[in-house]
Symmetry: C2
């Protein structure tokens, strides 16, 4: 908190739900600024999300990630991303990371390390996305997908994921966030 915060901050006077959909709810929040302004702002409530970085080695010993390809309805295209999903009500984010990894790749992680947390879009959302490094992977069984999900997993060398980020199918901002948190983790010598 510093001296200028009062000039920036808005206080919430009231909040009401205006619509509910499968993956988020919309709320209208009425807010007041210290200088007398008032405004009504639409915000979107979504569950927290997890990003999982499954680190493996190729048959040649090259470091690689298990990535997932899927059709994304917002983008209207197939993307390649890290395994990811929502944190269920009451679920620990670490458990959600392990569950999403199993569901989307069929692998269990011997070790899960929290690399960082960001807000996907603080302008109109308040949820958090945590990124987990998954190591010591073992094949547990088949993938288990939601009724409306179709995806495939594939192993991609780290260098290739790094080079492709921001191009082609590698355009999900949260996958780029995950990769940058992974690189910082490496740089810290962990």
């Amino acid at each position: 908190m510093n001296g200028s915060d009062a000039r920036l901050r808005w206080e919430e006077l009231s909040r009401r739900r205006i619509a509910s959909y499968a993956i988020f709810d919309l709320y209208s929040t009425l807010r007041a600024h210290g200088d007398g302004r008032r405004g009504e702002f639409v915000v979107l409530h979504a569950p927290d999300w997890v990003n999982v970085i499954p680190l493996v080695r190729t048959a040649e010993g090259v470091p690689a990630f298990i990535m997932v390809r899927q059709f994304r309805h917002g983008a209207g295209m197939i993307t390649t991303e890290f395994p990811a999903g929502i944190v269920e009500q009451g679920e620990d984010p670490r458990d959600a990371a392990g569950r999403e990894l199993r569901e989307e790749t069929g692998c269990r992680a011997g070790k899960l390390t929290l690399l960082g947390r960001v807000q996907p879009n603080p302008a109109f959302m308040g949820n958090w996305c945590s990124t987990w490094l998954a190591e010591d992977l073992s094949r547990e069984g088949e993938t288990r997908l939601d009724a409306m999900e179709s995806l495939e997993s594939l192993t991609v060398p780290v260098a290739e994921v790094t080079a492709r980020m921001g191009t082609g199918e590698y355009i999900n901002s949260l996958a780029l966030v995950a990769l940058s948190l992974y690189n910082r983790h490496l740089a810290e010598g962990a």
Copy 2:
């Protein structure tokens, strides 16, 4: 396109707008999968966005970014981010980057370089966020903010921005995306 794409792809049968708000519209899209499944999915239409990385040096010659602090209504807190905003209808993203920089910091950029483009949230949004490196900055005048905006700009050493990402006020995923695109640009020796 590869052989498994048909197994992943959904085709849009129809799309209708279900609600309009100040910063986005909601659509319902009816889609069919090749295996016979049908589903209705809610997607959010928002304008494209720009992220601007204003690169300067402190009085001591240390590389630094001009950052902005503002209250974010989704997060309900003050964040520190790169200058950013929406691309207006018909506006070139490069022009939007220059405009947002002037509006939020009062600076004009002699040079703007596109560092990359990502989709903020392809799961339910289809818009793009492009990141621009702004160099050769000159002070042009005062900031010009929207009626409901309050923000302050500040100069922060690059090393400090890097260390703080993912903590405290530095939790906007798109600021982390911008920083990682900047780091890749540096690594490429540009």
